[in-house]
C-alpha cells in the first residue's frame, strides 16, 4: 500500500525530479530513458492503447516458452513438405533470383545439381534465372534453414514436435563447416558430401531416432546453456549431448555405417544447431496469430533482406536491408569478402537463445568485443526488449536467471535497442563458403514498419 510509508520510487524523465527525491533520502530507481525510435511515437501510442495487447502478449509468450520440442524423427523433405519438382525453399523473407545474393544463388545452383534438375552450373543458373524454378521461404512451410537455408526434395530433415501445443517444425541436417551448400558452395566435394548425407547419414539417423524414441530437445538445450553453449554460434556441448543420446541407437540401427555417422557428427560442433533451430521454430510458431500481440515470432534473412514476422500480423513480412556482419574472419578473408546477413538461424534469438543467451557462452564472448562483461551486457540489454524470462533456459552466470525471450516490437521502438544477433558470415561470391563469424545488427525499419502495421 503506497500510503503506508516512505515510497520506493521509480523515476523516469527529468533528472532534477529524481535528484530531489535522492536529496530526501528516498529509495529511487532511475530509468535511463530516451525518446523512442524516430517517427514511432504515434504508432506506439496506438499499439500500447490496444486493449487486447497485454493479454495477447502474455498468451503469446506463454505459448512460446511453454512449448516442449521433441526430436520426433528424421525424414526426407519430399515426404514431410509440399515440395513439388521445380520448387526450393530458402532462408529469410521471400526473394527472387534477380535480388538473391551470392551465397543464396550458389546454394540454389547446388540444389539444382544435387536434384539433377540441371546437368551443370550454367544450365542450373539459366533455369533459375528464367523463373521456372519456384522459390519460397522455409518459414512458410513450417521449416527453417541455416544460412542460405535451401531445402530440396531429397534432403533429410529433423522433424521436431511440440508436445505441449502439437505443432511441428523442420530443419535440414548440418553439413559441417567450410565449403558447404548452406554457405553457397556447390563444388564437387560439397555435392559428394550431400549425396553421402542423402544415402547414409539420413537413413541411419532416421532409424536411430526411431529406435531411441523422441528426444527432449528442451531439456538438452537447457543443459547445453549450462555447459557454455548459446545454441547459435556455439553448439559444442549440445552436439556432444545429442551424440551421447544417439550413439547406441546409431550402432544398433546401422552397425556397418555407425562409425562414419558418429565420426561425422562428432567432427561438427554445429551439428546440433539445426535441431536447436527446429526446436526454436516450433516454439515460436506456437506463439503465432494471437490478435493484438506485438511479439516477434520470426526473424530471418535471405542475404539481401532482414525480415520479421509478428504474432498479431499473421504471415506478413516486415523487412529492411540485411546488414553486413562484423566479426572475425577465417584465413585471408576480410570484411570485404562478407555477404550481407543470411539465414533462418535468427530463430534462435527469436526464442531466447543465440545472442540473447550470450552470457551463457563465455568461450565465444570475443565475438562481442572481447570480454565476458560485454557478453553479460548483451544478454542484460535484451531483457529490455523482451516480454519474459525463459522458465527452462537459464544462465548460470546470471544466477540462473531465465534467458530474455519474446521480442516485443513496441519495446524495440521504445528503447531503440535492436536484437543482438550472433551469426556465421558467408562469402559474397557464390561458391565461396564460410568466411567468418560474428555479430550483426538488424535493420530498425523491420521493427518500426511492423509497429506501424500493428497501429493499423
Amino acid at each position: 500500500m503506497v500510503l503506508d510509508g516512505p515510497p520506493r520510487v521509480i523515476t523516469v524523465g527529468a533528472e532534477p525530479l529524481a535528484e530531489a527525491l535522492r536529496e530526501q533520502a528516498a529509495d529511487t530507481v532511475t530509468v535511463a530513458w530516451r525518446p523512442p525510435m524516430a517517427g514511432t511515437a504515434e504508432a506506439l501510442g496506438r499499439v500500447l492503447a490496444d486493449p487486447r495487447r497485454r493479454a495477447a502478449n502474455e498468451l503469446a509468450v506463454r505459448r512460446m516458452t511453454g512449448a516442449r520440442p521433441y526430436l520426433a524423427g528424421v525424414r526426407r523433405a519430399s515426404e514431410l513438405l509440399r515440395l513439388p519438382r521445380g520448387m526450393f525453399l530458402h532462408a529469410g523473407p521471400p526473394i527472387t533470383w534477380r535480388r538473391a545474393s551470392g551465397p543464396l544463388r550458389g546454394a540454389l545452383i547446388g540444389a539444382m545439381l544435387l536434384e539433377r534438375y540441371a546437368p551443370d552450373e550454367r544450365a542450373a543458373e539459366q533455369a533459375l534465372a528464367s523463373g521456372d524454378v519456384l522459390l519460397e521461404p522455409c518459414h512458410g512451410h513450417g521449416a527453417v534453414g541455416p544460412m542460405a537455408g535451401v531445402v530440396s526434395p531429397s534432403m533429410w530433415l529433423f522433424e521436431v514436435r511440440d508436445d505441449e501445443h502439437g505443432g511441428v517444425a523442420y530443419c535440414s541436417l548440418n553439413e559441417g563447416l567450410g565449403k558447404v551448400l548452406r554457405y553457397g558452395a556447390y563444388g564437387p566435394e560439397v555435392l559428394e558430401r550431400l549425396r553421402w548425407m542423402d544415402t547414409v547419414l539420413g537413413p541411419v539417423l532416421s532409424a536411430a531416432v526411431e529406435l531411441a524414441g523422441p528426444i527432449d530437445l528442451r531439456a538438452m538445450i537447457a543443459q547445453a546453456l549450462q555447459m557454455g553453449d548459446e545454441l547459435h554460434n556455439r553448439n559444442r556441448a549440445a552436439t556432444s549431448l545429442l551424440l551421447r543420446e544417439l550413439a547406441p541407437a546409431v550402432v544398433d540401427a546401422a552397425p556397418a555405417n555407425a562409425s562414419d555417422v558418429l565420426r561425422f557428427i562428432a567432427g561438427n560442433d554445429h551439428f546440433f544447431l539445426n535441431a536447436a533451430m527446429a526446436a526454436a521454430k516450433v516454439s515460436t510458431d506456437a506463439a503465432r496469430d494471437v490478435p493484438g500481440s506485438s511479439l516477434v515470432v520470426a526473424m530471418a534473412r535471405n542475404g539481401t533482406d532482414f525480415g520479421v514476422q509478428v504474432s498479431g500480423l499473421g504471415s506478413r513480412w516486415f523487412t529492411g536491408p540485411a546488414g553486413v556482419p562484423d566479426g572475425l574472419f577465417l584465413g585471408a578473408y576480410g570484411p570485404g569478402d562478407a555477404n550481407p546477413d543470411i539465414g533462418d538461424s535468427t530463430i534462435t534469438e527469436t526464442s531466447g537463445l543465440g545472442g540473447f543467451a550470450m552470457a551463457a557462452a563465455p568461450a565465444i564472448v570475443r565475438f562481442v568485443g572481447g570480454e565476458v562483461a560485454d557478453a553479460v551486457a548483451a544478454t542484460r540489454s535484451m531483457y529490455e526488449i523482451t516480454l519474459a524470462e525463459h522458465p527452462a533456459y537459464q544462465i548460470p552466470a546470471l544466477g540462473f536467471r531465465g534467458t530474455p525471450v519474446g521480442i516485443d516490437v513496441a519495446l524495440v521502438a521504445r528503447t531503440g535497442l535492436l536484437p543482438v544477433v550472433n551469426t556465421g558470415i558467408a562469402g559474397r561470391v557464390a561458391g565461396t563458403g564460410q568466411v567468418g563469424a560474428g555479430l550483426v545488427s538488424p535493420p530498425a525499419e523491420a521493427f518500426t514498419s511492423a509497429l506501424a502495421a500493428l497501429a493499423g
Binding site: 524523465g13 530509468v31 511515437a41 501510442g45 570475443r366
Partner: protein, 519 residues
C-alpha cells in the same frame, strides 16, 4: 615475402580466441591460426601452405608475409595475454516496465508528454500508482490510463500533476511540510502547494498530498482519480481531515464526487477554484474544521501598510492609472490572482505554450525576467515565487537584481515553508531587500497589488536602481513581517478569513516567539 607454418602440439584455444589473435598480425598478409582440424588443414593447403601432419588437438599456425617471425611473436603475445578483468555489468533499466522488476511503490513520470503514456501504462500494468508530472498528454490517453488503473485498483496522479507528498516524501515540485492530519486531494499543483504551505505556517501538517491532474473532474475523465484518492485517504489512519482542491467540475462529475465524499468517514473540506473561495480561505476553513486558530498570514514589505492587502481599496475594477501585470509560474495561482485583483494582464509562464522548449519557470527564470524588464515603469507587477524540492534552488538570487532594477512596483506571492531547501524567510528577506512586497498568501498579494495599482504612483523610495538601499527605510514599517506564529497561539483566532486591517495593527509582540523580520 615468406611462409611460416608450425604446429603447437596439444595447445588448445577456442576458435574465436584464435580468429581474434590471428587478425591483423603485423608482418603477415595471410594468417591461418586455428586448431588443426581436417577442415582447417585443408584451408591452409588451399592457400598454398605446406602443411605438416597434425591432430585436431594441435594448434596450427600458417603465416605469410614480410615479417612472419615478428607476426609469430605478436601472435604468441596475444595468446598469452591475460584477459582484462570484467567491467561493471550493472545496466540501468530502459523502461518503467523493466524498472518495475525491482521492488517499488510508486512511479514518477516526467518524460515529454507525447511519450508519457507508455511509461505510465507500464506502471499501471505493474500494479503501481503513478504520478504523471508531464503535461501535454492527450486527454484520450489520460482516460485510457485511468480506466486501466481502475481495473488494477491503482491511483493515477496527473497528467500535469506538479506536486505530491506521499509518506513524507515530496514528488515533483514539493514543499517540505510537517507531518500532520490533513490529507489533500488536488486538481491543481500550485493550488495544493499554497494551501499546504499556509497550513504549515499555521502549524498544521499533512498526511499526504495526492494530485489528480487538472482534467480529472472533466466529463471526459469523470473524476476517476479524485474518487480513488478520496477513498485512499479515507482508509489512511493518519488522515483526519481531507481537503479537496477542485477545478470547476462538470456538473455530473461534481455530483458523483460529492456523493463519494459525503459517504466517507473522514470529513472533507472542498475548495472549488474559480468560485468564491480562494486558496487562502480554503486553508482557513481547514484550520477551523480542525479547531486550530487562523493566524495572520505573514508578509514582508518595504512598500508601506500591508493593510492594503485587505482589498479594501481595490475599487470597481476600472482602477486608478497604473497597469497591473501578473507574471506567474503557477497556473492556479495566476488564475486566482487575476480573479482576486479583478483587472490587469496576467500571464502564466508555466503554461504549455511557454514550457515546450524550455524548463518550467519554477526552474528557469529567464522568461519571467524578460517579462519583468518589459513592464511599463509605473506598473504594478504581481508574481509568484514557489519554493520546495524540484524548484529553483535560489529563486530570489535571480529575481532580486531584476526587481531592484525595475522601476515598477513588484509584489510577490511567496509559496513555501521554512523547511524548504530554499528557506522561506531567507527568500522573503532577499526579495524584500530588493524592494518587493512579499506575501505568503497569494490572495493577499493580489489584493495588495490591486489596491496599490488603483492609487496614483508615489515617488516610492524603492523605485529606480540602487534599490538595495531601500531595505533601511523599510525596517520600521508597521507590520513589516511576521512569520510562523506556531500552533495554538492565544488570540490568533481573532484573525479570521480574509483577515483585515488587524494584521497591520498588531506588530511584533502579539505572539510570543514571533519574529520581526529585522536583523
Amino acid at each position: 615475402m615468406g611462409d611460416a607454418v608450425f604446429v603447437r602440439r596439444g595447445v588448445y584455444h577456442d576458435s574465436v580466441t584464435l580468429m581474434r589473435a590471428g587478425a591483423g598480425l603485423p608482418g603477415a598478409e595471410v594468417a591461418v591460426v586455428a586448431m588443426a582440424t581436417q577442415l582447417n588443414l585443408g584451408l591452409a593447403r588451399d592457400l598454398g601452405f605446406d602443411v605438416p601432419a597434425a591432430d585436431p588437438g594441435d594448434l596450427l599456425v600458417a603465416l605469410r608475409g614480410d615479417d612472419v617471425a615478428g607476426a609469430a611473436e605478436e601472435l604468441d603475445r596475444r595468446l598469452t595475454e591475460r584477459a582484462p578483468p570484467g567491467r561493471e555489468s550493472e545496466q540501468p533499466p530502459r523502461t518503467t516496465r523493466s524498472a518495475a522488476r525491482s521492488p517499488a511503490d510508486l512511479v514518477l513520470v516526467s518524460v515529454p508528454g507525447e511519450h508519457a503514456f507508455a511509461e505510465a501504462l507500464d506502471a499501471v500494468e505493474a500494479g503501481l500508482p503513478v504520478m504523471i508530472f508531464s503535461d501535454g498528454v492527450p486527454v484520450e490517453q489520460e482516460r485510457l490510463l485511468k480506466e486501466r488503473a481502475d481495473e488494477r485498483g491503482v491511483l493515477v496522479m496527473g497528467p500535469d500533476c506538479g506536486t505530491a507528498v506521499i509518506g513524507g516524501v515530496g514528488l515533483g515540485f514539493a514543499n517540505v511540510l510537517r507531518p500532520g492530519p490533513v490529507g489533500v486531494v488536488a486538481a491543481s499543483g500550485t493550488g495544493a502547494q499554497q494551501v499546504t504551505c499556509l497550513l504549515d505556517l499555521a502549524g498544521v501538517g499533512v498526511s499526504h498530498v495526492l494530485g489528480v491532474g487538472g482534467r480529472d473532474l472533466s466529463a471526459e475523465i469523470g473524476g476517476r482519480s479524485t474518487v480513488r484518492a478520496l477513498r485512499m485517504l479515507d482508509d489512511d489512519p493518519a488522515t483526519e481531515l481531507i481537503v479537496l482542491i477542485s477545478k470547476p467540475p462538470s456538473p455530473e462529475v461534481a455530483a458523483a464526487v460529492r456523493e463519494v465524499a459525503g459517504a466517507l468517514r473522514t470529513p472533507v473540506v472542498t475548495a472549488v477554484l474559480g468560485g468564491d473561495a480562494d486558496l487562502t480561505s480554503a486553508a482557513e476553513e481547514a484550520l477551523r474544521a480542525l479547531g486550530v486558530p487562523v493566524p495572520d498570514w505573514p508578509s514582508w514589505t518595504a512598500l508601506g501598510d500591508v493593510a492594503d492587502s485587505s482589498g479594501d481599496g481595490i475599487g470597481d475594477g476600472t482602477g486608478g492609472g497604473r497597469a497591473l501585470v501578473g507574471v506567474y509560474s503557477g497556473g492556479t495561482l495566476c488564475a486566482e490572482a487575476a480573479a482576486v485583483a479583478g483587472r490587469g494582464e496576467f500571464t502564466d509562464y508555466g503554461d504549455d505554450v511557454y514550457t515546450r522548449a524550455r524548463a518550467h519557470p519554477m526552474i528557469d527564470p529567464t522568461l519571467r525576467l524578460e517579462a519583468l524588464r518589459k513592464v511599463p515603469p509605473d506598473a504594478v507587477v504581481l508574481m509568484d515565487v514557489v519554493l520546495g524540492h524540484g524548484a529553483d534552488p535560489d529563486p530570489a538570487a535571480a529575481l532580486a537584481p531584476a526587481i531592484a532594477a525595475s522601476p515598477a512596483t513588484v509584489v510577490v506571492a511567496l509559496v513555501g515553508t521554512e523547511g524548504d531547501p530554499q528557506g522561506l524567510r531567507r527568500q522573503a528577506e532577499t526579495l524584500r531587500a530588493a524592494g518587493a512586497a512579499v506575501f505568503a498568501s497569494n490572495a493577499r498579494a493580489a489584493r495588495f497589488a490591486a489596491t496599490t495599482a488603483s492609487r496614483p504612483p508615489s515617488p516610492a523610495p524603492d523605485s529606480g536602481p540602487g534599490a538595495p538601499g531601500v531595505a533601511a527605510p523599510a525596517l520600521g514599517a508597521p507590520g513589516a513581517a511576521r512569520l510562523d506564529p506556531g500552533p495554538g497561539i492565544p488570540g490568533a483566532a481573532a484573525h479570521g478569513s480574509g483577515s483585515g486591517p488587524g494584521s497591520g495593527s498588531a506588530p511584533g509582540g502579539v505572539w510570543p516567539g514571533s519574529v520581526t523580520e529585522v536583523s
